[in-house]
Symmetry: none
DNA sequence: TTGCGGCGTAAAAATGCCGTTAGGAATCGC
DNA sequence: GCGATTCCTAACGGCATTTTTACGCCGCAA
Protein backbone atom coordinates (compact mmCIF):
# COMPACT_ATOMS: atom_id res chain seq x y z
CA UNK A 1 0.00 0.00 0.00
CA UNK A 2 1.47 3.28 -1.05
CA UNK A 3 2.12 6.41 0.87
CA UNK A 4 1.27 9.56 -1.00
CA UNK A 5 3.19 8.55 -4.10
CA UNK A 6 6.80 9.13 -3.19
CA UNK A 7 9.39 9.37 -5.93
CA UNK A 8 12.30 6.95 -5.77
CA UNK A 9 15.53 7.24 -7.72
CA UNK A 10 17.26 3.99 -8.66
CA UNK A 11 20.93 4.30 -9.59
CA UNK A 12 21.95 0.89 -10.88
CA UNK A 13 23.88 -0.24 -13.93
CA UNK A 14 22.54 -3.79 -14.22
CA UNK A 15 19.52 -3.53 -16.52
CA UNK A 16 17.92 -6.67 -15.18
CA UNK A 17 18.00 -5.60 -11.55
CA UNK A 18 16.75 -2.21 -12.65
CA UNK A 19 13.76 -3.76 -14.36
CA UNK A 20 13.13 -5.95 -11.36
CA UNK A 21 13.23 -3.00 -8.97
CA UNK A 22 11.10 -0.86 -11.21
CA UNK A 23 8.22 -3.33 -11.22
CA UNK A 24 8.51 -4.08 -7.52
CA UNK A 25 8.56 -0.42 -6.54
CA UNK A 26 5.87 0.59 -8.98
CA UNK A 27 3.68 -2.17 -7.61
CA UNK A 28 3.93 -0.44 -4.24
CA UNK A 29 2.73 2.77 -5.76
CA UNK A 30 6.08 4.56 -5.87
CA UNK A 31 7.05 6.71 -8.77
CA UNK A 32 10.38 5.44 -10.09
CA UNK A 33 13.19 7.28 -11.85
CA UNK A 34 16.16 5.29 -13.14
CA UNK A 35 19.78 6.11 -13.80
CA UNK A 36 22.22 3.64 -15.32
CA UNK A 37 25.43 5.22 -14.07
CA UNK A 38 26.84 7.38 -11.33
CA UNK A 39 27.10 10.54 -13.34
CA UNK A 40 23.55 10.33 -14.62
CA UNK A 41 22.45 9.44 -11.07
CA UNK A 42 23.81 12.62 -9.58
CA UNK A 43 22.17 14.68 -12.29
CA UNK A 44 18.83 12.96 -11.83
CA UNK A 45 19.01 13.29 -8.06
CA UNK A 46 19.40 17.03 -8.46
CA UNK A 47 16.81 17.49 -11.17
CA UNK A 48 14.06 15.14 -10.00
CA UNK A 49 14.52 15.78 -6.30
CA UNK A 50 13.34 12.28 -5.37
CA UNK A 51 12.20 11.40 -1.88
CA UNK A 52 14.77 8.64 -1.63
CA UNK A 53 17.68 7.24 -3.62
CA UNK A 54 18.64 3.61 -4.05
CA UNK A 55 22.31 3.43 -4.99
CA UNK A 56 24.28 0.50 -6.26
CA UNK A 57 27.90 0.61 -5.13
CA UNK A 58 29.39 -1.14 -8.14
CA UNK A 59 28.84 1.42 -10.83
CA UNK A 60 30.81 1.52 -14.08
CA UNK A 61 31.95 5.14 -14.28
CA UNK A 62 32.92 5.97 -10.74
CA UNK A 63 32.44 4.71 -7.22
CA UNK A 64 29.08 4.62 -5.53
CA UNK A 65 30.62 6.20 -2.46
CA UNK A 66 31.13 9.33 -4.48
CA UNK A 67 27.48 9.30 -5.42
CA UNK A 68 26.57 9.17 -1.74
CA UNK A 69 28.91 12.02 -0.89
CA UNK A 70 27.73 13.92 -3.92
CA UNK A 71 24.12 13.77 -2.90
CA UNK A 72 24.91 14.42 0.74
CA UNK A 73 26.66 17.58 -0.34
CA UNK A 74 23.38 19.29 -0.97
CA UNK A 75 20.54 17.08 0.20
CA UNK A 76 19.53 15.11 3.26
CA UNK A 77 17.43 12.71 1.20
CA UNK A 78 17.55 9.11 2.45
CA UNK A 79 20.01 6.90 0.60
CA UNK A 80 19.70 3.14 0.59
CA UNK A 81 22.76 1.32 -0.68
CA UNK A 82 22.38 -1.86 -2.66
CA UNK A 83 25.56 -3.83 -3.08
CA UNK A 84 27.09 -7.19 -3.81
CA UNK A 85 29.96 -6.37 -1.49
CA UNK A 86 29.18 -7.98 1.84
CA UNK A 87 32.50 -7.11 3.45
CA UNK A 88 32.01 -5.28 6.69
CA UNK A 89 34.45 -2.57 5.77
CA UNK A 90 32.44 -1.67 2.68
CA UNK A 91 29.30 -1.31 4.73
CA UNK A 92 30.96 0.87 7.36
CA UNK A 93 32.44 3.06 4.68
CA UNK A 94 29.12 3.55 2.92
CA UNK A 95 27.16 4.19 6.08
CA UNK A 96 29.70 6.66 7.37
CA UNK A 97 29.75 8.35 4.01
CA UNK A 98 26.13 9.25 4.57
CA UNK A 99 24.09 6.25 3.49
CA UNK A 100 21.08 5.48 5.64
CA UNK A 101 20.97 1.76 5.02
CA UNK A 102 22.95 -0.97 3.33
CA UNK A 103 21.33 -4.02 1.75
CA UNK A 104 23.51 -6.78 0.31
CA UNK A 105 22.68 -8.71 -2.82
CA UNK A 106 21.00 -11.06 -3.12
CA UNK A 107 18.22 -9.38 -1.19
CA UNK A 108 14.55 -10.05 -0.49
CA UNK A 109 12.19 -7.55 -2.07
CA UNK A 110 10.08 -7.47 1.05
CA UNK A 111 13.01 -6.50 3.21
CA UNK A 112 14.13 -3.83 0.80
CA UNK A 113 10.65 -2.37 0.71
CA UNK A 114 10.47 -2.40 4.49
CA UNK A 115 13.79 -0.59 4.74
CA UNK A 116 12.59 1.94 2.21
CA UNK A 117 9.55 2.54 4.35
CA UNK A 118 11.79 3.10 7.35
CA UNK A 119 13.90 5.60 5.45
CA UNK A 120 10.87 7.49 4.18
CA UNK A 121 9.48 7.50 7.70
CA UNK A 122 12.63 9.23 8.90
CA UNK A 123 12.50 11.83 6.23
CA UNK A 124 8.92 12.65 7.09
CA UNK A 125 9.82 13.19 10.70
CA UNK A 126 13.06 15.08 10.24
CA UNK A 127 11.50 17.82 8.16
CA UNK A 128 10.84 19.99 11.15
CA UNK A 129 10.88 23.43 9.59
CA UNK A 130 8.27 22.60 7.00
CA UNK A 131 5.27 21.50 8.93
CA UNK A 132 3.59 18.91 6.77
CA UNK A 133 1.15 16.56 8.36
CA UNK A 134 0.26 13.30 6.73
CA UNK A 135 -3.23 12.12 7.57
CA UNK A 136 -3.76 8.96 5.62
CA UNK A 137 -4.45 10.03 2.07
CA UNK A 138 -4.48 13.71 2.97
CA UNK A 139 -1.59 16.06 3.61
CA UNK A 140 -1.60 19.40 5.38
CA UNK A 141 1.06 22.04 4.86
CA UNK A 142 0.50 24.40 7.75
CA UNK A 143 2.95 27.01 6.57
CA UNK A 144 1.69 27.20 3.01
CA UNK A 145 -1.90 26.80 4.20
CA UNK A 146 -2.26 24.09 1.63
CA UNK A 147 -4.30 20.95 2.06
CA UNK A 148 -4.40 18.12 -0.42
CA UNK A 149 -6.12 14.80 -0.63
CA UNK A 150 -5.16 12.15 -3.16
CA UNK A 151 -3.13 14.85 -4.88
CA UNK A 152 -6.05 17.22 -5.30
CA UNK A 153 -6.26 20.50 -3.47
CA UNK A 154 -8.83 20.79 -0.73
CA UNK A 155 -10.24 24.11 0.26
CA UNK A 156 -10.72 24.85 3.94
CA UNK A 157 -12.77 27.75 5.23
CA UNK A 158 -11.07 30.06 7.74
CA UNK A 159 -12.69 28.44 10.73
CA UNK A 160 -11.93 24.97 9.52
CA UNK A 161 -8.36 25.96 9.03
CA UNK A 162 -7.93 27.56 12.42
CA UNK A 163 -9.44 24.52 14.05
CA UNK A 164 -7.07 22.24 12.21
CA UNK A 165 -4.10 24.45 13.02
CA UNK A 166 -5.01 24.45 16.66
CA UNK A 167 -5.22 20.69 16.75
CA UNK A 168 -2.00 20.39 14.81
CA UNK A 169 -0.20 22.68 17.21
CA UNK A 170 -0.73 20.04 19.86
CA UNK A 171 -0.28 17.04 17.61
CA UNK A 172 -1.07 13.77 19.33
CA UNK A 173 -2.23 15.50 22.48
CA UNK A 174 -5.75 16.08 23.63
CA UNK A 175 -6.96 19.62 23.13
CA UNK A 176 -9.90 20.50 25.36
CA UNK A 177 -13.15 21.98 24.11
CA UNK A 178 -12.32 25.11 26.01
CA UNK A 179 -8.95 25.53 24.37
CA UNK A 180 -10.31 25.00 20.90
CA UNK A 181 -13.21 27.37 21.37
CA UNK A 182 -11.02 30.09 22.78
CA UNK A 183 -8.46 29.73 20.03
CA UNK A 184 -10.90 29.58 17.16
CA UNK A 185 -14.00 31.52 18.20
CA UNK A 186 -12.61 33.64 21.01
CA UNK A 187 -13.04 33.57 24.78
CA UNK A 188 -16.71 34.55 24.64
CA UNK A 189 -17.79 31.30 23.06
CA UNK A 190 -16.38 28.82 25.55
CA UNK A 191 -19.78 27.26 26.06
CA UNK A 192 -20.72 26.59 22.47
CA UNK A 193 -19.25 23.13 22.17
CA UNK A 194 -21.69 22.30 19.42
CA UNK A 195 -19.73 24.47 17.01
CA UNK A 196 -16.91 22.05 17.48
CA UNK A 197 -19.06 19.09 16.55
CA UNK A 198 -20.16 20.71 13.32
CA UNK A 199 -16.76 21.83 12.17
CA UNK A 200 -15.12 18.66 13.29
CA UNK A 201 -17.47 16.87 10.96
CA UNK A 202 -16.52 19.21 8.14
CA UNK A 203 -12.85 18.46 8.67
CA UNK A 204 -13.49 14.75 8.88
CA UNK A 205 -15.58 14.81 5.72
CA UNK A 206 -12.85 16.67 3.90
CA UNK A 207 -9.80 14.88 5.24
CA UNK A 208 -10.63 11.46 6.65
CA UNK A 209 -10.61 8.47 4.34
CA UNK A 210 -13.61 7.06 6.17
CA UNK A 211 -15.39 10.00 7.81
CA UNK A 212 -17.74 7.71 9.68
CA UNK A 213 -14.83 6.01 11.41
CA UNK A 214 -12.32 8.79 11.97
CA UNK A 215 -8.74 7.69 12.44
CA UNK A 216 -7.08 11.08 12.72
CA UNK A 217 -9.62 13.42 14.24
CA UNK A 218 -10.24 11.47 17.39
CA UNK A 219 -12.85 12.58 19.85
CA UNK A 220 -12.19 12.30 23.55
CA UNK A 221 -15.66 12.21 24.96
CA UNK A 222 -16.31 14.82 27.58
CA UNK A 223 -12.89 16.37 27.14
CA UNK A 224 -11.99 17.46 23.65
CA UNK A 225 -10.35 16.26 20.47
CA UNK A 226 -6.99 14.89 19.43
CA UNK A 227 -5.25 14.94 16.06
CA UNK A 228 -3.19 11.86 15.37
CA UNK A 229 -0.72 11.68 12.53
CA UNK A 230 0.88 8.64 11.01
CA UNK A 231 4.63 8.89 10.44
CA UNK B 1 35.09 7.86 17.98
CA UNK B 2 32.25 8.86 20.19
CA UNK B 3 29.33 11.17 19.70
CA UNK B 4 28.81 13.50 22.62
CA UNK B 5 28.39 10.70 25.13
CA UNK B 6 25.03 9.35 24.07
CA UNK B 7 23.22 6.89 26.29
CA UNK B 8 22.43 3.50 24.77
CA UNK B 9 19.99 0.99 26.17
CA UNK B 10 20.75 -2.67 25.51
CA UNK B 11 17.81 -5.05 25.93
CA UNK B 12 19.30 -8.53 25.63
CA UNK B 13 18.90 -11.68 27.68
CA UNK B 14 22.18 -13.39 26.77
CA UNK B 15 24.66 -12.28 29.43
CA UNK B 16 27.65 -12.96 27.22
CA UNK B 17 26.45 -10.86 24.33
CA UNK B 18 25.51 -8.18 26.80
CA UNK B 19 29.00 -8.09 28.21
CA UNK B 20 30.42 -8.05 24.72
CA UNK B 21 28.21 -5.15 23.65
CA UNK B 22 28.88 -3.25 26.84
CA UNK B 23 32.61 -3.21 26.32
CA UNK B 24 32.36 -2.47 22.61
CA UNK B 25 29.95 0.41 23.13
CA UNK B 26 31.77 1.76 26.15
CA UNK B 27 34.98 1.76 24.16
CA UNK B 28 33.28 4.10 21.71
CA UNK B 29 32.43 6.45 24.53
CA UNK B 30 28.76 5.58 24.85
CA UNK B 31 27.05 5.34 28.19
CA UNK B 32 25.39 1.93 28.41
CA UNK B 33 22.30 0.79 30.29
CA UNK B 34 21.39 -2.89 30.24
CA UNK B 35 18.14 -4.79 30.62
CA UNK B 36 17.96 -8.57 30.69
CA UNK B 37 14.34 -8.94 29.68
CA UNK B 38 11.55 -7.23 27.81
CA UNK B 39 9.68 -6.03 30.84
CA UNK B 40 12.73 -4.45 32.42
CA UNK B 41 13.64 -3.02 29.03
CA UNK B 42 10.42 -1.10 28.68
CA UNK B 43 10.81 0.26 32.18
CA UNK B 44 14.40 1.31 31.61
CA UNK B 45 13.55 2.87 28.26
CA UNK B 46 11.05 5.12 29.96
CA UNK B 47 13.06 5.90 33.06
CA UNK B 48 16.53 6.39 31.56
CA UNK B 49 15.34 8.01 28.34
CA UNK B 50 18.29 6.71 26.32
CA UNK B 51 19.26 8.20 22.98
CA UNK B 52 18.92 4.82 21.30
CA UNK B 53 17.78 1.32 22.13
CA UNK B 54 19.30 -1.94 20.96
CA UNK B 55 16.68 -4.66 21.21
CA UNK B 56 17.10 -8.41 20.94
CA UNK B 57 14.05 -10.07 19.43
CA UNK B 58 14.35 -13.38 21.26
CA UNK B 59 13.60 -12.33 24.78
CA UNK B 60 12.45 -14.71 27.49
CA UNK B 61 9.38 -12.99 28.89
CA UNK B 62 7.62 -11.64 25.83
CA UNK B 63 8.24 -10.83 22.23
CA UNK B 64 10.71 -8.16 21.19
CA UNK B 65 8.12 -6.79 18.78
CA UNK B 66 6.09 -5.74 21.76
CA UNK B 67 9.09 -3.92 23.12
CA UNK B 68 9.38 -2.02 19.87
CA UNK B 69 5.72 -1.11 19.83
CA UNK B 70 5.86 -0.31 23.52
CA UNK B 71 8.64 2.22 23.05
CA UNK B 72 7.13 3.61 19.84
CA UNK B 73 3.95 4.27 21.77
CA UNK B 74 5.51 7.25 23.46
CA UNK B 75 8.95 7.89 22.05
CA UNK B 76 10.59 8.31 18.66
CA UNK B 77 13.95 7.12 19.95
CA UNK B 78 15.93 5.10 17.38
CA UNK B 79 15.60 1.34 17.83
CA UNK B 80 18.14 -1.08 16.41
CA UNK B 81 17.04 -4.70 16.42
CA UNK B 82 19.55 -7.43 17.02
CA UNK B 83 18.35 -10.91 16.19
CA UNK B 84 19.31 -14.45 15.34
CA UNK B 85 16.23 -14.71 13.13
CA UNK B 86 17.36 -14.05 9.59
CA UNK B 87 14.01 -14.83 7.99
CA UNK B 88 12.84 -12.00 5.81
CA UNK B 89 9.42 -11.96 7.37
CA UNK B 90 10.85 -11.32 10.83
CA UNK B 91 12.80 -8.36 9.51
CA UNK B 92 9.83 -6.82 7.75
CA UNK B 93 7.69 -7.23 10.82
CA UNK B 94 10.21 -5.58 13.10
CA UNK B 95 10.94 -2.70 10.73
CA UNK B 96 7.26 -2.02 10.15
CA UNK B 97 6.64 -2.19 13.87
CA UNK B 98 8.86 0.85 14.22
CA UNK B 99 12.42 -0.43 14.36
CA UNK B 100 14.97 1.70 12.53
CA UNK B 101 17.41 -1.05 11.65
CA UNK B 102 17.76 -4.81 11.83
CA UNK B 103 21.07 -6.55 12.32
CA UNK B 104 21.29 -10.34 12.24
CA UNK B 105 23.54 -12.37 14.49
CA UNK B 106 26.31 -13.09 14.09
CA UNK B 107 27.20 -9.50 13.37
CA UNK B 108 30.34 -7.48 12.97
CA UNK B 109 30.90 -4.92 15.70
CA UNK B 110 32.07 -2.39 13.22
CA UNK B 111 28.89 -2.66 11.21
CA UNK B 112 26.73 -2.43 14.30
CA UNK B 113 28.59 0.65 15.43
CA UNK B 114 28.22 2.21 12.00
CA UNK B 115 24.50 1.53 12.00
CA UNK B 116 24.23 3.03 15.47
CA UNK B 117 25.98 6.13 14.18
CA UNK B 118 23.47 6.32 11.34
CA UNK B 119 20.57 5.99 13.72
CA UNK B 120 21.92 8.64 16.07
CA UNK B 121 22.64 10.86 13.08
CA UNK B 122 19.05 11.25 12.10
CA UNK B 123 17.54 10.98 15.50
CA UNK B 124 14.61 13.28 15.80
CA UNK B 125 14.86 14.77 19.19
CA UNK B 126 12.08 13.73 21.44
CA UNK B 127 9.86 16.12 23.27
CA UNK B 128 11.72 17.71 26.15
CA UNK B 129 10.64 17.21 29.68
CA UNK B 130 7.99 14.63 28.99
CA UNK B 131 6.47 13.16 32.08
CA UNK B 132 5.90 9.50 31.40
CA UNK B 133 4.85 7.13 34.12
CA UNK B 134 5.82 3.53 33.68
CA UNK B 135 3.50 0.94 35.12
CA UNK B 136 4.90 -2.38 34.08
CA UNK B 137 4.04 -2.85 30.45
CA UNK B 138 1.93 0.28 30.37
CA UNK B 139 3.03 3.88 30.00
CA UNK B 140 1.13 7.02 30.86
CA UNK B 141 1.81 10.41 29.32
CA UNK B 142 -0.15 12.67 31.60
CA UNK B 143 0.29 15.81 29.57
CA UNK B 144 -0.76 14.35 26.25
CA UNK B 145 -3.40 12.30 27.98
CA UNK B 146 -1.99 9.32 26.19
CA UNK B 147 -1.85 5.84 27.62
CA UNK B 148 -0.30 2.82 25.98
CA UNK B 149 0.05 -0.81 26.89
CA UNK B 150 2.32 -3.14 24.96
CA UNK B 151 2.43 -0.52 22.27
CA UNK B 152 -1.30 -0.29 21.80
CA UNK B 153 -3.17 2.84 22.72
CA UNK B 154 -5.51 2.55 25.64
CA UNK B 155 -8.52 4.77 25.96
CA UNK B 156 -9.39 6.24 29.34
CA UNK B 157 -12.68 7.91 30.15
CA UNK B 158 -12.58 11.33 31.84
CA UNK B 159 -13.19 9.91 35.29
CA UNK B 160 -10.65 7.17 34.84
CA UNK B 161 -8.17 9.77 33.75
CA UNK B 162 -8.85 12.15 36.62
CA UNK B 163 -8.52 9.32 39.07
CA UNK B 164 -5.22 8.25 37.57
CA UNK B 165 -3.95 11.82 37.51
CA UNK B 166 -4.89 12.28 41.12
CA UNK B 167 -3.04 9.16 42.17
CA UNK B 168 -0.07 10.11 40.02
CA UNK B 169 0.10 13.53 41.63
CA UNK B 170 0.94 11.78 44.88
CA UNK B 171 3.03 9.03 43.35
CA UNK B 172 3.99 6.34 45.82
CA UNK B 173 1.98 7.90 48.62
CA UNK B 174 -1.37 6.87 49.96
CA UNK B 175 -4.26 8.99 48.77
CA UNK B 176 -7.30 8.75 51.02
CA UNK B 177 -10.76 7.90 49.80
CA UNK B 178 -11.84 11.35 50.82
CA UNK B 179 -9.14 13.06 48.77
CA UNK B 180 -9.83 11.01 45.68
CA UNK B 181 -13.56 11.52 45.85
CA UNK B 182 -13.22 15.25 46.34
CA UNK B 183 -10.74 15.62 43.50
CA UNK B 184 -12.59 13.47 41.01
CA UNK B 185 -16.28 13.66 41.87
CA UNK B 186 -16.37 16.85 43.87
CA UNK B 187 -16.89 17.58 47.57
CA UNK B 188 -20.49 16.39 47.55
CA UNK B 189 -19.60 12.78 46.93
CA UNK B 190 -17.21 12.16 49.78
CA UNK B 191 -19.31 9.25 50.98
CA UNK B 192 -19.48 7.26 47.77
CA UNK B 193 -16.35 5.20 48.28
CA UNK B 194 -18.15 2.73 46.14
CA UNK B 195 -17.31 4.65 42.98
CA UNK B 196 -13.65 4.24 43.78
CA UNK B 197 -13.88 0.46 43.80
CA UNK B 198 -15.56 0.45 40.42
CA UNK B 199 -13.18 2.80 38.67
CA UNK B 200 -10.14 1.37 40.37
CA UNK B 201 -11.08 -1.92 38.78
CA UNK B 202 -11.39 -0.25 35.40
CA UNK B 203 -7.91 1.20 35.71
CA UNK B 204 -6.47 -2.10 36.86
CA UNK B 205 -8.13 -3.96 34.01
CA UNK B 206 -6.77 -1.50 31.52
CA UNK B 207 -3.28 -0.98 32.89
CA UNK B 208 -2.17 -3.80 35.17
CA UNK B 209 -0.43 -6.80 33.64
CA UNK B 210 -2.29 -9.06 36.06
CA UNK B 211 -5.43 -7.22 37.15
CA UNK B 212 -6.19 -9.85 39.75
CA UNK B 213 -2.87 -9.18 41.46
CA UNK B 214 -2.40 -5.45 41.14
CA UNK B 215 1.19 -4.31 41.46
CA UNK B 216 0.71 -0.63 40.76
CA UNK B 217 -2.75 0.27 41.94
CA UNK B 218 -2.36 -0.81 45.51
CA UNK B 219 -5.27 -0.70 47.93
CA UNK B 220 -4.66 0.42 51.47
CA UNK B 221 -7.55 -1.14 53.27
CA UNK B 222 -9.64 1.30 55.21
CA UNK B 223 -7.59 4.28 54.06
CA UNK B 224 -7.33 4.70 50.32
CA UNK B 225 -5.18 3.78 47.36
CA UNK B 226 -1.58 4.21 46.31
CA UNK B 227 0.02 4.32 42.87
CA UNK B 228 3.35 2.56 42.63
CA UNK B 229 5.65 3.29 39.72
CA UNK B 230 8.66 1.36 38.49
CA UNK B 231 11.40 3.96 38.40
C1' DT C 1 -20.00 -20.86 63.09
C1' DT C 2 -22.20 -16.71 62.05
C1' DG C 3 -22.64 -11.90 61.15
C1' DC C 4 -20.47 -7.74 59.54
C1' DG C 5 -17.74 -4.31 57.07
C1' DG C 6 -14.66 -3.37 53.45
C1' DC C 7 -13.52 -4.75 48.97
C1' DG C 8 -13.90 -6.67 44.16
C1' DT C 9 -16.82 -7.99 40.26
C1' DA C 10 -20.53 -7.81 37.03
C1' DA C 11 -24.30 -6.09 34.43
C1' DA C 12 -28.31 -3.27 33.77
C1' DA C 13 -30.33 1.48 33.77
C1' DA C 14 -29.97 6.40 33.20
C1' DT C 15 -27.65 10.35 31.80
C1' DG C 16 -25.64 13.48 28.89
C1' DC C 17 -22.57 14.02 25.10
C1' DC C 18 -21.73 13.47 20.36
C1' DG C 19 -22.54 12.88 15.34
C1' DT C 20 -25.49 14.01 11.86
C1' DT C 21 -28.62 16.60 9.09
C1' DA C 22 -30.97 20.46 7.25
C1' DG C 23 -32.23 25.11 6.76
C1' DG C 24 -31.80 29.97 7.41
C1' DA C 25 -28.85 34.18 8.33
C1' DA C 26 -24.74 36.69 7.48
C1' DT C 27 -20.94 37.76 4.67
C1' DC C 28 -18.17 38.23 0.60
C1' DG C 29 -17.06 38.76 -4.36
C1' DC C 30 -18.62 40.40 -8.57
C1' DG D 1 -27.77 44.10 -6.15
C1' DC D 2 -27.22 39.19 -6.62
C1' DG D 3 -25.36 34.66 -6.19
C1' DA D 4 -22.32 31.85 -3.79
C1' DT D 5 -20.00 30.81 0.04
C1' DT D 6 -19.60 30.68 4.82
C1' DC D 7 -21.39 30.60 9.26
C1' DC D 8 -24.84 29.92 12.86
C1' DT D 9 -29.08 27.66 14.87
C1' DA D 10 -31.99 23.89 16.00
C1' DA D 11 -33.43 19.19 16.50
C1' DC D 12 -33.02 14.17 16.89
C1' DG D 13 -31.19 9.53 17.37
C1' DG D 14 -27.38 6.79 18.96
C1' DC D 15 -23.95 5.72 21.97
C1' DA D 16 -20.10 6.35 25.47
C1' DT D 17 -19.97 7.30 30.02
C1' DT D 18 -21.67 7.37 34.34
C1' DT D 19 -24.53 5.82 37.89
C1' DT D 20 -27.26 2.52 39.98
C1' DT D 21 -28.11 -1.97 41.62
C1' DA D 22 -26.87 -6.50 43.00
C1' DC D 23 -23.97 -10.31 44.47
C1' DG D 24 -19.59 -13.03 45.95
C1' DC D 25 -15.38 -13.03 48.54
C1' DC D 26 -12.36 -12.50 52.42
C1' DG D 27 -10.81 -11.44 57.11
C1' DC D 28 -12.19 -10.55 61.59
C1' DA D 29 -14.56 -10.70 65.90
C1' DA D 30 -18.30 -12.13 68.71
Amino acid sequence: MAEARATLLVIEDDAEIRRFLRSALAAEGYKVVESANAHRGLVDAASHKPDLAIVDLGLPDFDGLQVIRGIRGWSPMPIVVLSARAREHAKIEALDAGADDYVTKPFGVGELLARIRVALRHRARSREGVVVLVLGEATVDLEARKVTRRGKDIHLTPIEYRLLACLAAHLGMVVTHRQLLTEVWGPTHQADTHYLRIYMKQLRDKLESDPLRPRHFVTETGVGYRLVCDD
